[in-house]
């Protein structure tokens, strides 16, 4: 397949290892990758904070860069960015765009996927030959879970990883408290939610807490680093990209692991 890779602004700038792992993974599965160089940001932060006029150029940019019909699917290592493209770009285009933008958005929306749903639903693979000999717990992230309905897909991918010790996260479906600007505007409530999430994560004794979204991992990982917990955060793509021939080496400090 010819796959358009959307790095997401956060992934491209702050967490490039997760995007690298996504690219490597898709290449290993035999697919051709396209990286439109003018891609930037999906505009999710703007829309979620209440701004819908400002991200119009971002929505248009996304539709233009990935609109090329030779790109069969647009894949991104982020549940919330995929959610933004599929659920928010239409709202922005409807309100502040023109007919061309609405049509463009509809076209790209239909072929936009978060990584785990692309692997399981579109490619039909669950065992992608990964090897990760560590104890791992999975946090489902709200937008993957409830906006995209990825359900068990990431867990099916993880269960197929060789030598992984996958442990269930108690109250996994509870929000970690990030919520984008929520963590800034309502930092204290956010911290209270994060504290409970961290208690559950560290209680599993896992070496790694994984998820399909670098933003939630930045939040959980930032908290774990502050309390100097032994658990690191790592994007799902990085576990799936780890193989026997080139295994992922767990870094010594938690924050290094986040990128």
């Amino acid at each position: 397949m010819r796959i358009g890779l959307f790095a997401t602004c956060l992934g491209d700038t702050l967490f490039p290892d997760a995007v690298r792992a996504t690219a490597v993974l898709l290449a290993r599965l035999g697919h051709e990758l396209v990286f439109p160089p003018d891609q930037t940001c999906c505009g999710q932060m703007h829309v979620n904070t209440g701004y819908q006029r400002e991200p119009v150029p971002l929505v248009r940019g996304f539709a233009e860069q990935f609109g090329d019909p030779s790109i069969e699917a647009v894949v991104m290592p982020s549940g919330s960015c995929a959610g933004s493209v599929r659920h928010q770009h239409g709202i922005v285009a409807e309100r502040y765009g023109d007919a061309a933008l609405r049509a463009g958005v509809a076209t790209v929306q239909a072929k936009t996927y978060e990584l785990s749903e692309f692997l399981v639903d579109v490619l039909g693979v669950t065992d992608i030959g990964a090897y990760f000999p560590h104890r791992v717990t999975y946090h489902p992230t709200c937008h993957s879970l409830r906006l995209l309905r990825v359900g068990e897909k990431p867990l099916r991918l993880l269960r197929a990883v060789e030598d992984i010790d996958l442990v269930e996260l108690p109250e996994a479906d509870a929000c970690c408290g990030f919520g984008g600007t929520f963590a800034v505007k309502n930092a204290e409530t956010s911290s209270a939610m994060l504290a409970d999430k961290m208690r559950h994560v560290t209680g599993t004794g896992a070496a790694v807490c994984t998820a399909g979204d670098s933003s939630c991992l930045m939040h959980i990982g930032g908290g774990l680093s502050r309390i100097e917990a032994g658990t690191r955060t790592l994007h799902l793509a990085q576990i799936l990209a780890s193989t026997r021939t080139s295994p992922y080496v767990l870094p010594s400090t938690p924050l290094e692991a986040t990128r």
Binding site: A27, H143, K185, T189
Partner: protein, 519 residues
């Protein structure tokens, strides 16, 4: 040729007037949460109560094979209702009148309070007994009646606890959810005249103490005030759904019954109750059926109240209805499922919302009824931001109100109404950078400079306002040396992808044979 008549611009329907009723707190959500979060007892009570009720709800909604279809039906009936609200309300008025009741229309809380006060005064009583009701709380009826020398006695056990403690409710369904048994015993010992000073905190004993106190009120008070869960346009039937039977006492014993109902509570047909009487108890208390469902139609000679008044309350509902997107919030049946699953409500508690309606639906409906004043620190303007948009509320809602989308919509309305703020300028600047790929790439390189402010361990531990709340409990990694795109463009990136492709091809050939390589 006829001359065109200028009809003027249609005015926006009024919101609930500023400074009236209980639809606005005295501080913003983050400030209120700051205090509430320090209340360890509250956190424990809330955590325990919400977790218990979540489990019960999941058990009784999961057992119904047609639960999802019921939710769809509930949503469809409510949407249809809102689409023809005026005609249904007139039908309701006609039917109630036909059955011997009197219908009053109240534009806002102040009008409703005046109507109820006048009706009580006409009976000559200076006391009323009350059925638990959100609408009367919203308009501050008890306080208004007290000002006019009329004492209102709450008869719902939890409302009684709140009233005796001179407190405010913190949950739609369990107004005293923030109190535990020991606190309740103290409230009863201080507030119920003649109560046994030895009263302990066994729930049955607490309930018995309240029962003895209330029984006397039921038998001696000639006027009752209630809200309504449903009003049926087709028949003029009103309905109250409750657990204790105290509501039933109020609805049947007094001579005069005054019901205050928000106009969005109307349902088209009697048969619609089939859907809602399944949705409501399962979603709210996690029961298959609530113990008491009272239905009454006007006045029945010789049976029950002989004077029945229905006060139809707008108080900002028409304004909400005028909002094409926001009107969905009027579909709410006040089950409180969204509160019980909300991680923000669970931590901050109901009082932090400053309104009769707390939790996710409160964050949506409060600003819709009472508006968000553009002055920067109107507490109501902070409510749409009191959510991570995690979506747990949407999943739980029996009438499928898309609360996260409504919150995003209200945030948009808020930013549109405010002038230039630092945040708006920052958002414009960010969009300007993101909208120009060349500038974005330059900014990305500059972000690498963030490494300078990071410690030697690659952590940024302190950030300036407004990000200091974030950095109080989270480290932020310094931006990496190289962005993804820089890696991709490098020789290292190209060879890594080539190697991955070759390795993949090799394993596929080994595993499946060459024919299936394309799969």
């Amino acid at each position: 040729m006829s001359t065109p008549t200028y009809l003027g611009m249609p005015a926006l329907p009024p919101r609930s007037p500023y400074g009236t009723g209980n639809l606005r707190g005295d501080r913003t959500f983050p400030r209120a949460a700051h205090d509430e979060l320090r209340n360890g007892q509250l956190r424990r009570n809330l955590g325990k109560a919400t977790h218990t009720i979540r489990a019960k709800r999941l058990a009784v909604t999961g057992e119904l094979p047609d639960w999802e279809a019921l939710r769809d039906a509930g949503s469809a009936i409510k949407t249809d209702t809102m689409n023809r609200l005026p005609e249904l309300l007139e039908q309701l008025e006609a039917k109630v009148t036909e059955a011997g009741g009197t219908v009053h229309w109240a534009r806002d809380g102040a009008e409703a309070n005046d109507i109820v006060t006048r009706l009580v005064q006409q009976t000559g009583s200076d006391e009323v007994i009350k059925v638990k009701s959100m609408a009367t709380q919203e308009i501050g009826l008890n306080e208004h009646l007290a000002d006019q020398g009329i004492k209102a006695h709450e008869t719902d056990l939890a409302e009684l606890i709140v009233q005796l403690a001179d407190d405010k409710p913190s949950h739609i369904l369990v107004p005293a959810i923030h109190r535990n048994r020991d606190e309740i015993r103290e409230i009863f010992r201080a507030g119920i005249p003649g109560v046994d000073p030895e009263l302990d905190s066994v729930p049955a004993h607490l309930a018995a103490a309240a029962r003895a106190y209330l029984r006397e009120k039921f038998l001696t008070t000639p006027v009752a005030v209630s809200g309504a869960n449903f009003g049926i346009a087709e028949t003029g039937t009103l309905s109250v759904v409750e657990s204790e039977g105290n509501g039933r006492m109020c609805l049947t014993l007094p001579d005069t019954l005054i019901t205050v109902m928000g106009i969005e509570k109307v349902l088209p047909r009697y048969a619609d109750l089939e859907v809602f009487l399944q949705l409501l108890p399962r979603s709210s208390t996690g029961e298959r059926m609530n113990p008491y469902t009272s239905l009454w139609t006007g006045v029945t000679p010789g049976d029950g109240p002989q004077n029945f008044h229905l006060v139809l309350l707008d108080n900002g509902r028409t304004a909400a209805l005028a909002d094409r997107i926001g009107r969905q919030a009027l579909n709410c049946i006040r089950c409180s499922a969204c509160l019980n699953v909300c991680p923000v409500y669970e931590r901050a508690g109901g009082h932090a919302y400053g309104s009769t309606y707390p939790g996710p639906i409160g964050a949506v409906v409060t600003p819709q009824l009472a508006g968000m004043d553009v002055s920067a620190d109107d507490p109501n303007s902070s409510l749409p931001y009191a959510s991570t948009l995690c979506g747990a509320c949407y999943d739980a809602c029996p009438v499928k109100i898309d609360i996260p989308s409504l919150l995003v919509e209200l945030r948009h309305q808020h930013t549109e109404a405010t002038g230039r703020t630092a945040e708006k300028l920052a958002m414009k600047a960010a969009a300007a950078v993101m909208g120009r790929p060349g500038v974005y790439r330059a900014a990305q390189k500059a972000a690498g400079l963030g490494r300078v402010v990071a410690g030697r361990d690659g952590k940024i531990s302190h950030l300036p306002p407004p990000f200091n709340g974030w950095s109080d409990s989270r480290d932020t990694p310094a931006p990496p040396k190289r962005s993804f795109r820089a890696w991709l463009a490098s020789a290292e990136g190209a060879s890594a992808l080539r190697a991955a492709a070759e390795e993949g091809a090799r394993t596929r050939t080994e595993a499946d044979g060459p024919d299936e390589e394309e799969q």
